[in-house]
């Protein structure tokens, strides 16, 4: 009587897809055609696949950043700000530092990662020194980083040739090449992801993080230094967000400059990915694939069938709700069935 987790998730996703079909149908669209074009544009062509893969790894790191903090019980909602500060820092380095690629790119990465970690550290320090709620600090720091970066790209660092607020483009040496159609940042980010999963699953500190995520008091009583770990988790989470921002600059398929609204949706998607995967970095993988397919096929669907691409945003939200609802409700439901069976079995005994 034990329904496997995978089955529950699959059922949830199917339910979400059906709800999406009903919505499309009620709007007078052909739902089959719309879904088919999502798949066609995201998976059937080489360019589509490359797009999907690119999107997937960015989502993967966004989800890992959120899960690194949330999985350790640290409420870091500041991925957006950390990502922006990372992107801004690496852009600055890429514009003003004149070095060959082999030095410049690592320098940009280090700078971006450090900036992301530092932005998270402000929140961590606020909690550690003054007992301020990190949840609010990270939230406010998002707005502050957003306005700060907007200021930079619309006044002192504005590209004179651009009509809209945007920074200048980084130097040629600050851009990683593409390998075929695949951006080489993909490999870098996959490597980072594997390292993150290994860290959380296998290391002593990762073990402490996980226990803290479930029960921080137990970890403390057991002798884990929960204060330090909290700080570390925030820093690592911020570092991953900073990396994500940097990759949006150095990636071959990216724009190599900070424009307004950069990375806005990744932070929100990252949070959803993390929580829907139970704040488990390893679990982010599957959901990131799903999100990536839907998002990269969205524009194609709009071209083919005229369904506005925002439909996929709604579909992703419905999928998330469906998965969490199935997960919590299947437990309640199964318990009820077992209790009923047990009661009946007592009847037979008599």
């Amino acid at each position: 009587m034990k329904i496997r987790k995978e089955v529950t998730v699959a059922l949830a996703i199917v339910t979400a897809i059906v709800i999406g079909m009903i919505m499309l149908f009620s709007q007078g669209y052909s739902s089959m055609e719309s879904y088919a074009s999502i798949l066609k544009y995201s998976l059937s062509t080489a360019i589509g696949r490359a797009n999907t893969i690119n999107r997937f790894v960015f989502l993967l790191i966004a989800g890992s950043s959120a899960a690194m903090a949330l999985g350790a019980g640290a409420s870091n909602l500041g991925q957006f700000g950390q990502l922006l500060m990372g992107a801004m820092t690496s852009t600055l380095i890429g514009i003003y530092v004149n070095l060959p690629s082999v030095v410049l790119i690592p320098l940009m990465i280090i700078g971006g990662v450090a900036a992301g970690a530092l932005w998270a550290a402000i929140a961590a320090a606020g909690r550690k020194l003054f007992g301020m709620n990190e949840f609010i600090i990270t939230l406010m720091l998002n707005f502050i980083a957003d306005y700060f970066v907007r200021y930079l790209i619309s006044t002192p660092l504005k590209d004179p040739g651009s009509q809209w607020p945007a920074s200048r483009v980084v130097s040629e040496n600050g851009i990683l090449p593409a390998i075929g159609l695949i951006d080489s940042v993909v490999f870098l980010m996959i490597a980072v992801y594997i390292a993150a999963v290994y860290f959380v699953r296998k290391s002593r500190m990762g073990y402490e993080f996980r226990v803290m995520g479930y029960n921080s008091l137990f970890a403390r009583v057991g002798g884990c230094d929960t204060n330090k770990n909290f700080f570390r988790a925030m820093l690592l989470s911020g570092a991953l967000a900073g990396l994500l921002g940097t990759m949006m600059i150095v990636g071959a398929t990216q724009q190599h400059r900070v424009i307004s609204g950069l990375g806005e949706n990744f932070a929100n998607d990252g949070l959803m990915l993390s929580i829907v995967a139970g704040n488990n970095i390893g679990g982010v993988f599957v959901y990131a694939i799903l999100f990536a397919i839907l998002q990269s096929g969205a524009t194609g669907m709009q071209l083919d069938t005229g369904v506005p691409s925002e439909f996929t945003t709604m579909l992703i939200a419905i999928t998330v709700l469906s998965v969490v609802a199935f997960r919590s409700y299947s437990g309640i439901f199964i318990d009820k069935v077992i209790a009923w069976k047990k009661t009946k079995s007592l009847e037979v005994e008599k």
Partner: protein, 302 residues
């Protein structure tokens, strides 16, 4: 001088959507629900109120649509959190994401526009002239002539929320439910029902707030119009430890810092920098507040 008056005059209505969302969120906060769906409620009602106002060329139908739209979001939130027992935080984020997608989607579907919807058919909320007050110099010109929900909020809703939470049986039960839902169940009241009511009240107040945003301050709808106001209202609730008077005070400070920012722009400080001021103010308030003991530990879990 005139400039400062102008700025303060615009700061007052600017604080209303956040204030209403925060007052609504107070109810769920007291019921111990980690509610972040105010953002989605505000955005939904900002959109549906414009739809209502456009279709019927009437502000009160707009208001009706706004509140109904927001209540629909509350129902959705309540259904998942209370019936399906999903996590409050993830439900909130997913609903906010859904609303962000849905408002843009229907903006295109219904009006075939992207970005903003402006139309002469949209009727704004009526503005009120207050006799006597309007003739007082300075203060009169700041306070007078705003859309009417502003006055209702300041002079009726804020005191009413205070009385409901601290002086009525419902408030006593609601707060008890927040401290320990088991106690409420043991005296024969369904904690779940209290939670449901609190979510609905939150929806109704956010509905007025969202309507005020699109039909009170402006007369249009823009994609992602709520722009983080729901999140800010949550921050303010946590800061105030659930006290409506403090919520009111912080919202006014928030509004004034926003106005202050606008003033500073006149002396050539870039607007993006001055736009940060309200958020810095929240951080400052948080710092001051953290010196006092805190009531609840918030934790983001699924």
């Amino acid at each position: 001088m005139n400039l400062i008056i102008e700025i303060l005059k615009s700061a007052l209505p600017a604080s209303i959507p956040i204030l209403l969302a925060a007052l609504g969120g107070l109810f769920t906060w007291h019921a111990n629900i980690f509610n972040i769906s105010m953002e989605g409620m505000l955005l939904t009602s900002a959109f549906t109120s414009v739809v209502g106002s456009y279709l019927f060329e009437s502000w009160w139908i707009g208001l009706l649509f706004g509140v109904a739209g927001s209540l629909a979001v509350s129902l959705l939130f309540a259904f998942f959190v209370l019936k399906m027992k999903t996590g409050e935080f993830i439900t909130g984020i997913a609903i906010n994401t859904f609303v962000a997608g849905a408002t843009t989607y229907y903006l295109r579907q219904l009006f075939d526009v992207k970005g903003s919807l402006m139309d002469p058919r949209i009727v704004a909320l009526p503005k009120w002239n207050i006799p006597i007050v309007k003739d007082i110099p300075v203060i009169g010109s700041i306070i007078n002539g705003h859309a009417f929900p502003l006055y209702l909020t300041f002079f009726i809703i804020v005191p009413l929320v205070y009385v409901i939470i601290y002086k009525t049986p419902f408030g006593l039960r609601l707060r008890a439910c927040g401290y320990d839902a088991k106690v409420i169940d043991s005296v024969g009241i369904k904690a779940e029902r209290l939670k449901f009511i609190s979510i609905m009240i939150c929806g109704a107040l956010c509905g007025v707030g969202g309507t005020f945003l699109s039909l009170g301050i402006m007369r249009m709808f823009t994609e992602n119009m709520s722009n983080g106001r729901g999140w800010i209202s949550l921050a303010i609730i946590i800061l105030s430890l659930g006290n409506p008077v403090k919520v009111f005070a912080i919202c006014i400070i928030f509004g004034i810092t926003e106005g202050l920012g606008l003033t500073l722009q006149q002396v050539n400080i870039p607007n993006q920098i001055t736009d940060m001021l309200p958020y810095l103010a929240v951080l400052a308030a948080l710092y001051i507040n953290s010196r006092q003991s805190k009531k609840k530990e918030l934790k983001v879990k699924n």
